[in-house]
């Protein structure tokens, strides 16, 4: 079967790739573009480790086909920092030890960023429900939630 030629934008850079119809966006990011920051934990949309932004929507990259990325804009963990300046979420995850083993961290960061874009001042409960699709087995979520709250506070202060 012939592969499809796809042009897409990842973290602001244009990429072209050839894609089997059954290849997911996650397969493409990891195996074709070698952007391995986005992780695979289940490939069934249940763990959130592959969370990315697709044209501003939070999605599991394992549930999106590679061909669907055509003409779209994708944001992954590799695009969070600006130059040598970490995103406030990244900085707070470091300070609060929100990343233990680190495998869920890229997905958590992307999902948390999506939350703070729609709700700059989320309650603890709102954060817990928003991140309920992102599994973590190391932390018990405590330090992740605290890191997100701290980042939200800092981002609000910067804005005001």
């Amino acid at each position: 079967m012939a592969k499809s030629h796809v042009t897409t934008t990842v973290n602001g850079d244009e990429y072209e790739f050839l894609c089997d119809t059954e290849q997911t966006l996650l397969d493409i990011l990891r195996d074709e573009l070698l952007l391995t920051g986005t992780k695979e934990g289940c490939a069934t949309g249940d763990c959130g480790a592959c969370s990315v932004m697709l044209d501003g929507c939070l999605v599991c990259a394992c549930l999106v086909l590679g061909v669907e990325a055509a003409g779209k804009s994708i944001e992954t963990v590799e695009g969070l920092a600006h130059g040598d300046e970490l995103h406030p979420l990244q900085q707070k995850f470091l300070e609060h030890n929100g990343a233990q083993c680190g495998i869920c961290t890229p997905g958590m960061l992307i999902a948390a960023k999506a939350l703070l874009e729609v709700e700059p001042d989320p309650s603890e409960t709102e954060i817990r429900y928003w991140l309920a699709g992102n599994l973590c087995r190391c932390t018990g979520y405590d330090k992740i939630i605290r890191a997100v709250m701290a980042a939200a506070e800092e981002m609000r202060e910067v804005r005001s």
């Binding site: 089997d20 391995t36 490939a43 680190g102 495998i103 817990r128 992102n134 087995r137 979520y141």
Partner: protein, 760 residues
């Protein structure tokens, strides 16, 4: 005089600058930017994709395997089956070999029977469908108590139960029996005023690491192999790979990736020898990444148990005796580490009369693997439930009863060791004093407490510390960092050398860079590597002093090392400006060469750890659903080198225990196939299931560690399920004795109570 680990003792008067603070960990930035390389994140030129064919049957003789059609498919570069692995004599390595690739029989749904390597995943999957396996399906047995029935399907016709006196012949599924006793249990029960005896069941669950196993193997024509994989112990992987593949140990180089969670589940390999065999056959690098379905069906799980637990007590609350009969599922092959259970389950109480018997039982489930305090939480679920009942019978506060019976320094344990300074009493007192313990409860809420113990471990550990020409330090370590050990180890080096922790740069070396390191498990690494790096640092300091003495032309005993500088020991030595490490390192070439320290030790003196958990639950009496409302972990860490890392261990383990308590179990259909092999149906706790998890770090120093620390990773899982069961009992007046305490089971208890049945 050579410094040894015996020279490193805890110094209570030492002023600490780095230890006890919370610097950002050296692996942090890589983990928040996506740079960190995990098992599946490596791509080599020419790399093939490996996929594994798995048995759909729980128990079947493999009559034949025809791989010809798969081999003929364009793009397929290698196919391997049982015929591609050496025959081994009965024993551990044969069991390992028969587990990663089935031989005569497939023993569980998901057991590997063949594997292919192809130029793409699509071709590899297609090739798997072309492999023809002729199975003769056999009756199977899943549950531990079914497996010991006289008419149970037998997995191994030649199995004889070890440890039975007289030896019990076959056919049997009982691998072995181990009995541990101290004192006279019968006499102890005769002294008791109150005896409680109960039966408990726990289900197998999975370690649940988010990173599926993944590896890349590259076997070259000269018989060498390089392996990249996610593992808790690359050295033990190497040893076992050499044994099962009949290779020289030195020809296998294992590089550990960052580890995306393990919790015990990555102490044993599954795909690595298969990838090596495929690479050997294909002459190309081969990558295998497990799917979540494969992770659940063919790795882990944690042993399920059936246990009978009996304890006796005087009417004023003194324990007189304890007895246990324990059955552990091990999957088809021995290796459950069940002997931990009888040795640890009662240890923390001042009991003098104990009889505990454990049985390890095979059945048609995946071979079990370790999980935090292997095999102990399952049976502490029962012990702490019985103790809760005893407390109720005499109307004593449950923490007071535990305090009344708490073991202290000098207690001789059932496993032969005598407690040094231990922090169980301090832990219990802190739990009792915590505001959580006396906070008011709402409607349908209940509160439970439970305690746990773990031995903590030491073992073979190596480290190499090099002082660079500018005085900063590189540190080579031999243990995968399963979450927080690296930073803590660097902090101890920084403290020793009087430099900032950012001046110590660690890497975890591959198996060719250091001597053997025991697997990262048993809460051993921060303790053991701590000793190894402190020893390395002190050796380097000795050399720094020698070099400074040489630079000043004074006797070696005329200088001292303080706060990162070598100074004259007294004004009599001379008037010299102190030399920093950098000052001395700069002159290293002139004074004798590069400055380093290294250590190769068997770390000894691990101090036991104790914890007490307090949990509030709310039970929905309409549905039986249990919500965790508040959770507090109190545990002795000896000394928290990096408190955030310690808290993370407490919180994460408690969350895992909450999953085990309320949701997690393997569900099998009548054919022995796992029905919930995915994260949607095998549901681990999510953020919205949990409250913040409060922690209290108790610090009763371990005198045998230079900074007083005790391992902390195992203990915080041990009490969890018992604490939650005790809380549910407090809320609804009925004690669940079977895990998971899922809504249907809790609802049934509520309904039975409403019908007025006496469950005692």
């Amino acid at each position: 005089m050579t410094i040894t680990q015996d020279d490193l003792r805890y110094d209570p008067d030492r002023k600490l600058k780095v230890v006890g603070t919370t610097p950002i960990k050296p692996d942090g930035v890589d983990k928040v930017t996506g740079r960190a390389k995990f098992g599946a994140d490596v791509h080599l030129p020419g790399m093939l994709v490996g996929k594994v064919l798995r048995s759909p049957y729980a128990h079947a003789i493999i009559e034949s395997i025809d791989t010809s059609a798969a081999e003929a498919l364009a793009g397929v570069k290698a196919v391997v089956t049982r015929d591609d692995f050496p025959e081994l004599p009965p024993g551990e390595f044969r069991n390992i070999s028969c587990n990663f690739m089935a031989r005569e029989k497939a023993f569980y749904d998901g057991h590997a029977v063949a594997a292919v390597a192809a130029t793409s995943e699509r071709i590899a999957k297609k090739a798997l469908k072309l492999i023809v396996v002729d199975y003769q399906v056999l009756p199977h047995v899943i549950d531990v108590m079914d497996a010991i029935k006289p008419d149970a399907p037998i997995l191994f016709e030649d199995m004889v139960t070890q440890g039975m006196d007289p030896a019990r012949g076959g056919p049997t599924n009982i691998v072995q029996r181990k009995e541990f006793t101290m004192g006279d249990a019968d006499a102890g029960f005769a002294e008791a005023d109150i005896i409680v005896e109960r039966v408990f069941d726990t289900k197998p669950m999975h370690q649940g690491y988010i990173e599926p196993q993944a590896c890349v193997a590259n076997y070259t024509e000269d018989g060498q192999t390089e392996l990249w994989c996610c593992t808790q112990g690359h050295f033990i992987y190497r040893t076992r790979l050499a044994a099962v593949l009949k290779m020289d140990i030195s020809k296998i180089r294992v590089t550990q990736s960052e580890l995306g969670g393990g919790f015990g589940g990555k102490t044993m390999f599954y795909i690595e020898p298969v990838a090596i065999a495929l690479s050997r056959k294909a002459n190309r690098p081969v990558k295998i990444t497990l799917t979540r379905n494969e992770v659940l069906r063919a790795t882990g799980p944690v042993a399920g148990t059936h246990s009978r637990i009996k304890m006796g007590m005087t009417k004023d609350g003194k324990f007189t005796a304890a007895e246990a009969e324990l059955y552990f599922q091990t999957g088809p092959f021995t290796g459950s580490a069940f002997v931990n259970a009888p040795q640890a389950m009662f240890t923390r109480y001042d009991l003098q009369n104990i009889r505990a018997v454990g049985y390890e039982v095979v059945s048609n489930r995946p071979k079990v693997n370790a999980f935090r305090a292997p095999c102990v939480p399952q049976v502490v679920f029962g012990v702490e439930g019985v103790i809760d009942e005893l407390a109720k019978k005499i109307g004593m506060d449950p923490i007071d009863l535990r305090l009344r019976n708490a073991a202290v320094e000098g207690y001789e344990t059932i496993y032969g060791a005598t407690f040094g300074p231990v922090g169980f009493v301090e832990t219990l007192e802190a739990a009792k004093a915590h505001p959580h313990y006396t906070a008011p409860l709402g409607a349908n809420q209940g509160r439970g407490v439970a305690t746990g113990f773990w031995f903590n471990r030491g073992g073979e550990t190596t480290a190499s510390l090099n002082i660079t020409p500018d005085g900063t330090v590189t540190l080579l370590l031999g243990n995968p960092d399963v979450a927080g050990s690296r930073v803590s180890i660097c902090m101890m080096v920084a403290e020793e050398l009087g430099i900032g922790v950012d001046k110590v740069r660690p890497i975890i070396g591959d198996t060719s860079t250091l001597g053997f390191n025991r697997v990262t498990a048993g809460s051993r690494v921060t303790f053991s590597a701590g000793i190894a790096v402190v020893l390395s640092a002190r050796k380097a300091i000795k050399i720094l002093c020698q070099r400074a003495a040489m630079m000043w032309d004074v006797p070696e005993d005329g200088v001292v090392f303080e706060d990162g500088h070598v100074r004259p020991a007294s004004s009599n030595v001379g008037d010299f400006e102190p030399l920093s490490i950098a000052d001395i390192a700069k002159k290293a070439t002139e004074t004798g060469g590069p400055i380093a320290g290294h250590a190769e030790i068997v770390a000894e003196g691990a101090g036991p750890g104790f914890g007490c958990h307090i949990v509030d639950v709310e039970v929905d009496k309409e549905t039986g659903a249990v919500k965790i409302v508040r959770y507090t972990v109190v545990q002795d860490a000896g000394k928290a080198i990096h408190p955030h890392q310690v808290e993370g261990q407490y919180q994460g383990a408690a969350a895992q225990g909450i999953g085990w308590a309320l949701n997690e179990e393997y569900i099998y259909d009548q054919d022995g196939r796992m029905e919930n092999a995915g994260f949607l149906d095998y549901r681990i706790p999510v953020a919205s299931d949990l409250p913040m998890i409060d922690t209290v770090i108790i610090e009763v120093p371990n005198p045998l560690h230079p900074y007083g620390l005790r391992g902390v990773g195992e203990v915080p899982l041990v009490p969890t399920m018992a604490a939650i069961a005790n809380a549910i009992d407090d809320a609804i007046g009925i004690r669940p004795r079977s895990l998971p305490m899922s809504p249907p089971k809790v609802l049934k208890l509520i309904e039975e109570a409403a019908e007025g049945r006496d469950r005692a």
